[in-house]
Symmetry: D2
Subunit: 100 residues, 4 copies
């Protein structure tokens, strides 16, 4: 059942909760702009949003490596249909984009 197995359904819930919080943060920034908050305070808030996105991305990348590459048969259906070689090449490219 891949990504939907018990362990991962739980992970998936945690990820969604973090994304929901990010969505709320972005809405908060919009409110700040509307209420003419001081630009520097808006920038501080946007820095926090960016950091939250980076952290959730790192968590998803970790889970991907763990469930889809190391324990490939526990992973997402798409990963199961790929060879280890293909998964590692894909990861190489993903990390290049995530770390810039």
């Amino acid at each position: 059942m891949g990504y939907n197995s018990i362990v991962n359904a739980q992970d998936s819930k945690i990820i969604d909760r973090r994304l929901a919080r990010i969505e709320g943060q972005v809405r908060g920034v919009r409110r700040m702009v509307e209420e003419e908050a001081y630009c520097v305070d808006i920038l501080t808030q946007l820095t926090a949003v960016k950091s939250a996105i980076e952290q959730v991305s790192a968590a998803i990348a970790s889970q991907h490596i763990k469930h889809c590459i190391v324990d490939q048969d526990q992973g997402h259906e798409q990963a199961k249909s790929m060879t280890k070689e293909e998964l590692l090449d894909e990861l190489d490219e993903v990390l290049g984009r995530l770390m810039r």
Copy 2:
């Protein structure tokens, strides 16, 4: 009227439109998680969100420098109450955080 002057009200609308799009992107990522999209596709989407946040932050920082520091009297009320020295020290600290 500071940040609310005609020129800036327009800027403010453009900023809000960009933030609205980012909010929509985050909602889209949540949908992807819910529908069990492939982790790598979720990461690609999150990279796009991060990039959009960086670009809107750069635009706000630019406007802040232009309207609050260079042409201080066109800027936000808060900026008008500060000395040039204070504004530059604050900017120094903000750039340090934004560029990391």
Copy 3:
């Protein structure tokens, strides 16, 4: 022999070549500062250095995942002495820092 095996000695050479180039780039930036180059040109050059460091980091992270985690027994001595669990926890923490 782990990290020193034929495959990895080659990887190691490529990594060193990229780091040597980065060292040269930093020396070039110092020369620009000394010769009073225009600040914006110095910043452009520093952006290139940062990008080169991100790319070499991504490459090393990829190799680490491939040689030390997926094929643990081909990896570095230190990795061989750790459990898969410990390696994945360590990676989780490393990715969090690299992606910020």
Copy 4:
């Protein structure tokens, strides 16, 4: 005398000292690769180098805004030959690149 005035010559020295330290850090990373240090330790060191580059870039950007844009006649010769409008457009583009 622009960038070469007493104040800025001092700034310039501080910048050079920071770049010299970065150059030394990169050399240190090369040594780690040569001595087959553990990949994760190399990555930790590269994260520190990246952070140092971001901080020196932020400092140079700050000085540029202060000396070349706000007090344009204290700035670099190149900045003196540009209009305020051109300097702000250029900055806009620079910040976009530095913040990504």
